[in-house]
Amino acid sequence: MKKIIILFFVLIFTFLEKSHSQDLGTLRGVVTDSTTSEALAFGNVIVLELNRGASTDSRGYFLIPQITANKNLTLRVSYVGYHTKDIPIRLTKGKVTQYNIALAPSTIQMQAIEKIGERVIEKNETDISLQRMAIRQIEALPQGVETDVFRALQYIPGVQSTGDVSARYFVRGGGSNQNLVLIDGITIYNPFHALGLFSVIDPDMINNIEFYKGGFAANFGGRLSSVLKISTNDGNKNKFGAKASSSFLTGKLLLEGPLPHGSFILTGRKSYSTGILKKFLNDQTVPIDFHDFSFKANFANPDFIPGSKFSFNGFFSGDNIKNDDPFVEDFKWNNQVLGFKWFQVGDSPLFYEIGFSMSNFKGEVIPKLSNTRANKNEVTDLGVNMDFTYMFDYKDEIGIGFNVQQIQTNLFIENARGITTDLGKSAANISLYAKYKFLQFDFIGIDFGTRINMTTLSGNKEAETFEPRVNFTLNILPEFKIKGAWGIFQQEMTTVSDENEVINIFEPWIIAPDYLVPSKSTHYILGAELTPWNFLMFSVEGYYKEVNDLPLLNEKKILSSDPDFIAGEGESYGAEFLLRVSTQPVTFSTSYTNAFAYKVVDGLRYYPKYDVRHTLNFLLELNFGAGWSASASWIYNSGLPYTQVVGYYDKYYLDDVFLPPTIFDPRRPYAMLGIQNIGRMPDYHRLDLSVSKKLRLGFINLEIDVSAINVYDRKNIFYFKRETGEIVNMLPFLPTATIKVEL
């Protein structure tokens, strides 16, 4: 292991000292919005005379090596929804020359639906199974009460939900606890408000989103299925601003403005009415109260450290269900996240970022005088990470990183006998990653690397030390690409999830027990992308994913000596088709997914609850100009699996042992269940519509959005209450509205 560490640092210093060609220079810069100075992620920059370009990363940075020095050139910078800008540039030979470019929005009233820039420049980018989204794209979708990132993900082929009531998502046959959610690189353990109905992430804080459905690179670790990487806004560097909005559920406020050599942003959201939740919860009133709050401050002073940017951010969310009745239990859960980052660019084409983070989740079931079992969970995750990216003159990149994570979990749960056990643990994970991006030829791009786990959280000796991964893009024709990925992914944290729960309060997190081998998945992905014209894109991706040693709650645990978890296996495969036509003012996309997912527990192979065979989505966005826009979506899913009732019997309930020895019935019908999830619910489909209008009243920007969910009031079955025979449906026809005021 010592050799690995030595090699790691040798590599870093070798690349730091790398010399450059003396006839050429390197162009570097950052692209921002001229009104706010927010980074514009994934925009395009191209040196016209050389027809060479690059795309900006999630921080708005770009780097183009091997540009002719000492020559007047033109740099064209473009981003959809912004005025394209041509600027004259001249590079110094053998040096990195920095240009910071601010783009102006195309109109003040945003007549075009803003959307994220497409990385048209980097044709060989290794981006299979990667979806990039801007918040404007998410806001353009019909809203269920209010804009929600997780609900927007469910429009992406390969992403499933178990119904429109929950914001939980399942990616390519993986469980919801196999999805990594990162806010500015920090893990959020329980990213849900209100029993999983909404995500905790306030869209107003988001700058951009990168969503990896699989095959993600070696810089991401700790989850088996997907990564949702959210980069937050920095705040307006030019002027102070405020934004307030209100929906049927929450009120929100955003404050932002400049600081000396930096900026700040504060966002806050608070629920004020839970009436709308009755539509989600079968008319049940839940006395829930939730809030979230985020802040970010950044500092970049060239006189302090040239090329540096420091940011300090925090995110806090809390949910409370508080019942006045002492015989009904209370619940509370919250997330607390703090992070500090130092991003540095130097004179060489080297970027590095050093971060310190703390993520804490606490959840508690307080039984009071009810019969509910007590449950208390806490996760504290302290992390230090360093990421170095070096770009060679010939466009190849090397990335090396180092991550130390100290995780402490506590979980007190009461078993069937009423005995409380602590499943908590404290452990550290030290891991390195190294990856090489082979991008020097336009016809091919390869990203290969590995994670190296130097210690494991679970302590199991059979944990994987190496998690190798490879990802490629092959440009057969300028309009036609073939892409693929393969990789091994390991996960040592798991949730105590009950698969038979369709709604739960929160899922407690623990480090997987040492008697189980850490779960491991292998992804095989192959796809093709056809772009015959700029306005039309068709893609297809096929995947196969196998999961070994999946920790699953032991449903048969009765005795305290029985293990809490048993190991299962998983397998999923499918094909995803996507067609997108984008000609202003119309954007139309349709996708179809044919997917299969299985789990094997105790030798029984069954469909997990989120296995959907056919999914078909249509999405139409229209921009009428003058601030008017509209969207419509139609979603079709074939039926979700469910376990059939194979009979009832009159079960003896010991409601009161003090009753005299009577034979009169303390008995009630008890449903016997057949083979797990062998039945299928009826098909699910739903039409949603949305209209929004942006207008300016004096110095105020106003945005009004009216949405209608399930326009034709389809009775999509959510679940069948076996004990009473009641059929509970998902969301009915639900009109909602949001108003946003911006100063």
């Binding site: 009423g418 038979n500 376990t643 042992v657 057949g674 679940y719 069948f720």
Partner: protein, 321 residues
């Protein structure tokens, strides 16, 4: 192309207008259910045998066909001793969904011995055999030196302690006041349960009773005890017509199987999670159900006359020193 454009909305409308039927049922699985919960304080024991059934609609309560199994042979072994159960029927109450008499098995000749390993077997008319075993819990010993024996006006707290040889014991304790009051000219015996405490909610006092636990003590404060005493005469003008005898500390010891079954059935999910299955536990081989034993232990707490008189009631027993 025109045809396609015309066909698409028609297909869409067809999909939208379809109301799919939903059948939550699979083929009936035949299962036999055998329940026998023995009491340690009596020789009268009962057992119940039935089979699974299916309903032809979504409501499981709609079944009115009695699924009881008659004519089975049930035996219970405790070392070399065997007790036989006989089958019999009794009428049901008017609200029962079943219209036929309730059928069950009983013996009036078996009292489980503390600590004994016992086995039960039911031979069904079909020849199928259901079996189960359990171990009778030990009686507990009340620790008189550490417990109250009398209840006095000046007491702040009532407490009873006990000990047991039982490994992993589970107890259900309760404190009862026995009294009589006249009803239609007859003096009838009643009992009032003293809770752990009363919780005030919406202007009402809700009793909070003890849940099954492994504690070797039970206690309640005098404020709660007095509240329970006061509630005895709620709505009765002539308080002296109420005759108070004594308080009983009852402690039920559950065997391991019964306590697990109790926890699996009596504990509930939280009020908001939606779980589609219920925790189940069975210790019956070749079938499902419960074979368990509980033992009733009791301890008498006498009340001083001045304490009883302070409520306006009449003492029913001689005074204690």
């Amino acid at each position: 192309m025109k045809k396609l454009l015309l066909a698409l909305p028609i297909i869409f409308l067809l999909i939208v207008s379809c109301e799919d039927s939903f059948d939550p049922y699979g083929e009936l699985e035949n299962k036999y259910i055998f329940n026998c919960v023995l009491r340690g304080d009596t020789t009268f024991q009962t057992a119940y045998l039935s089979k699974s059934y299916m309903v032809d609609n979504y409501d499981p309560y709609s079944n009115s066909d009695d699924a009881t199994i008659k004519n089975a042979q049930i035996r219970i072994w405790e070392e070399d001793n065997v007790a036989l159960f006989r089958d019999t029927t009794v009428g049901r109450n008017a609200e029962s969904k079943y219209k036929t008499p309730f059928s069950f098995y009983y013996t009036d000749n078996y009292q489980p011995k503390p600590g004994a390993k016992i086995e039960i077997e039911a031979l069904l008319p079909t020849g199928k055999r259901l079996k189960s075993t359990t171990r009778v819990p030990y009686s507990i010993s009340f620790r008189k030196s550490e417990s109250d024996t009398n209840i006095r006006l000046s007491d702040d707290f009532v407490q009873v302690r006990w000990s047991t040889y039982q490994p992993n014991p589970v107890f259900i304790p309760r404190l009862i006041i026995y009294y009589t009051k006249p009803v239609d000219g007859q003096r009838i015996r009643f009992s009032a349960v003293v809770p752990l405490n009363y919780i005030e909610f919406n202007g009402q006092f809700k009793p909070n009773y003890a849940k099954p636990n492994s504690d070797l003590a039970y206690g309640t404060d005098m404020k709660t005890f007095k509240k329970a005493m006061e509630l005895i005469s709620d709505g009765i003008a002539d308080k002296s017509s109420i005759v108070i005898f004594s308080a009983f500390m009852e402690v039920y010891s559950l065997d391991e199987n019964l306590s697990t079954y109790y926890n699996a059935t009596a504990r509930t999910n939280d009020a908001y999670s939606v779980k589609l299955t219920e925790t189940d536990f069975s210790n019956v081989l070749a079938g499902t159900g419960i074979f368990g034993v509980f033992v009733r232990n009791y301890y008498i707490l006498r009340m001083k006359h001045d304490f009883i008189n302070s409520f306006g009631y009449t003492p029913g027993l001689s005074d204690v020193q």
